[in-house]
């Protein structure tokens, strides 16, 4: 039994660390990427994969099924709203005249 709980604990820690890494790299990408759309991609990674992994890690830690259900509902909400808001943001940016940087106009160093 203790082996199983140890395994679950390990899995949960792995998920938490991986999720934190995604969130961190998303934050770095948000600051460093060259244009609006790639920055939005970084934010999207942070929202869906980062938050998803962290929530999964927390689900493994939950000691009551009610906590599990609530975390699942939060996960579902994030998976619905975050891609939608990314989509709306991208559409608004296109309408506002922003165009993604393509290979030719990429500067050697990313400019802010």
């Amino acid at each position: 039994m203790s082996g199983l709980t140890g395994l679950i604990d390990l899995l949960s820690w792995l998920a938490l660390v991986a999720g934190s890494f995604c969130a961190l790299s998303g934050g770095v990408g948000l600051l460093r990427f060259p244009d609006f759309f790639s920055r939005m991609h970084a934010a999207g990674v942070m929202d869906t994969l980062g938050a998803g992994l962290i929530l999964f890690g927390l689900m493994l830690q939950s000691d009551h099924w009610l906590v599990l259900v609530k975390l699942l509902l939060i996960l579902k909400l994030i998976w619905l709203t975050s891609p939608t808001s990314s989509h709306a943001l991208a559409k608004a940016a296109i309408r506002g005249g922003a165009r993604p940087l393509l290979g030719d106009d990429m500067p050697g160093r990313g400019k802010r």
Partner: protein, 337 residues
Amino acid sequence: MEMLVDVFLLGLLVATAVAISSTKDLFASIMLTGLYSLISAAFFVLMDAVDVAFTEAAVGAGISTLLMLSCMKLTGQYEPKPHRHRRLLGLVVVSVTGVLLLFGTLDTPNFGDDHSPIQDHLAPHYLTKSMEEIGIPNVVTSVLASYRGFDTFGETVVILTAGIGVLALLGFSPKRQSDDLDSLVAPMHHQKILRVVSKLLIPPILLFALYVQFHGDFGPGGGFQAGVIFAAAIILYAMIFGVHVARQVFRDGAIRLLAALGVLIYGSVGLLSFLSGKNFLDYSVLSDTPQHGQHWGIMLVEMGVGITVAAVMLIIFFTFSARVDKRERDGDENQRQ
């Protein structure tokens, strides 16, 4: 470790405040205000004030950002450049206020001091006797709705007053909307994905609002948050499918009546206990046993708060958007002439 997180969050708050005051783009500063509220909410969670954090997240980061955005539609996106002497005057006022505030903090008790006056006056009574006297697990709700019910009544009246104020200033637009309802296309008509997802989300949001309303006795929640969440769902609907469609369900007269009705419910509960020979808003007369009476009273006044808050938020949003509509139509007519 917790100290570190505290300092980090407070540092973020200061940075956000500086960014708000330095930007001239009102859209950015509204978004930063929302961020400021969200960070404060996180800070409140750290201090174990979950109810306050919930309110701050729902009101500060949610609905007030929305209302300010719809207000910005009326005022324009950029702040005008102030005159130089006015800038100097502003700096003087801000510095004097800041120094006075800093001076004031010298007298306040230390952060987290358990012997500060607020901790050993009434708080111990609330914390130890609440379960016995009121009988609900969430002490915040019993303090808010029962012990300090009169304060909360005042807050509800303030919200109603805000709604009346907005109506008095902006609500007298001529009744022309009803004539050409069909000619107005929903502003988000081309946003298919937004329409589908909000159709999926609005029913759960409304359900969540009701959960927050009636679960306030046991966990964080209550009338204020529930009212705001309910109104947010309607406003989301109005933004995606057109304000005129939402206004067909939530008619002007009806929401004005509801805003007043909430305060009326709250006040009537108070009057009822008054007429039964107890103090104003002493709920123990409402049922056979005092505890049961408290449950009834808290449920009723929270309902009053929820109704008023939701209705006033809708009034403010609809009034702003009607104003924007009117201005755009006037602009069209001027161009035609």
